[in-house]
Symmetry: C2
Subunit: 198 residues, 2 copies
């Protein structure tokens, strides 16, 4: 890219190291930034630096927050006896968008993956078990429907069940609006196994 | 987004104001940034702020650069008597990627658009005319093949021709590898008009 001066090349290189930003989008973003009013660039940059500096894990659920406790754990209207276990903060956001879940969460920050050398001690599992010392009615396991997610779900369920707390797993099956023809066999079999009586 | 704490929401909002970054990518980018080592976020942010602060127009061709003169204008190996006129710095980059163009450029920063109220005085046209006082063999007009691009090309060509300098326009036609069946009629007619003898 020697046709761009050094700082422009650097900016493009930095931007293209971000996920989902290819060479073309990095270039487009770079020129957009170079054409933005200088104070707007300053604001974007400081929001970034400050958020990174101040954001840490919620001391209860381990989601990312810049307060001591995240807005969900701090909300007395939520049902603190129902804990949904998710792999990361974005999964939490996905359930929050439904607007129907009223319990709280526990963010594992990963899933057990022997292939990648990620064991139970590498995710926030000990922290989940500790939370069960408070009054908890149900633990809903909402890890992904992948090999790692399923392994993690099984592991957690075996760990918690002896304590007598109800453990459930979100259903896996055909997505709403999904056309059976285009759905993989594993999902189709899963949907069959998980059928409910009408 | 009240399930995200304030600084996370702000970061997502700032990122989603960038072009080509929708709500989902902004969220993914935000969490990527929050998980980056703090010094990397600092570097990304300062590259952005510094580039914006230091980048200005090349005093010859008006492309963006942080030097006084851009790397292309500063290169004595380039043919400074052939000027390719483009709408913006990204168009310049597109031609540079071919690696075959050896002349220099002139960046207009826009195109004449009566619809959007952009007239000849709003783009770097006066500056192009000034450059023609130096020795110039040819001006190649490489504005986009849009209504505005064509209007601008016609305008520039009428302006320069009386001076006796050669003015050319890049060809418009069927893209290489393009399937005639899927190409719009205007392009097909343009390709027909622009046919060359074999």
């Amino acid at each position: 890219m020697e046709y761009y001066s050094k700082q422009i090349s650097n900016l493009i290189a930095e931007l293209s190291s971000l996920p989902g930003i290819g060479a073309k989008s990095a270039q487009r973003l770079a020129f957009h930034i170079l054409n933005m009013p200088e104070e707007e660039v300053g604001r974007l940059s400081s929001v970034m630096v400050e958020a990174r500096h101040n954001v840490h894990y919620c001391k209860h659920c381990f989601s990312l927050t810049d307060d001591e406790v995240c807005p969900i754990c701090a909300n007395p209207a939520r049902d603190h006896k129902t804990i949904m276990v998710v792999e990361d903060t974005r999964d939490l956001a996905a359930y929050e968008k439904t607007g129907k879940y009223t319990g709280v969460y526990h963010v594992l920050h990963g899933a057990i993956s022997p292939m990648q050398g990620i064991g139970p001690a590498d995710i926030k599992l000990k922290e989940l078990i500790q939370r069960l010392q408070d009054e908890v009615d149900e633990v809903i396991i909402a890890t992904n429907s992948s090999l790692e997610g399923e392994t993690t779900a099984m592991y957690i369920s075996k760990l918690i069940k002896p304590s007598g707390i109800k453990v459930s797993r979100i259903a896996s099956g055909v997505p709403v609006g999904g056309d059976l023809e285009y759905i993989d066999e594993v999902t189709l079999l899963r949907a069959l196994e998980g059928r409910t009586e009408l």
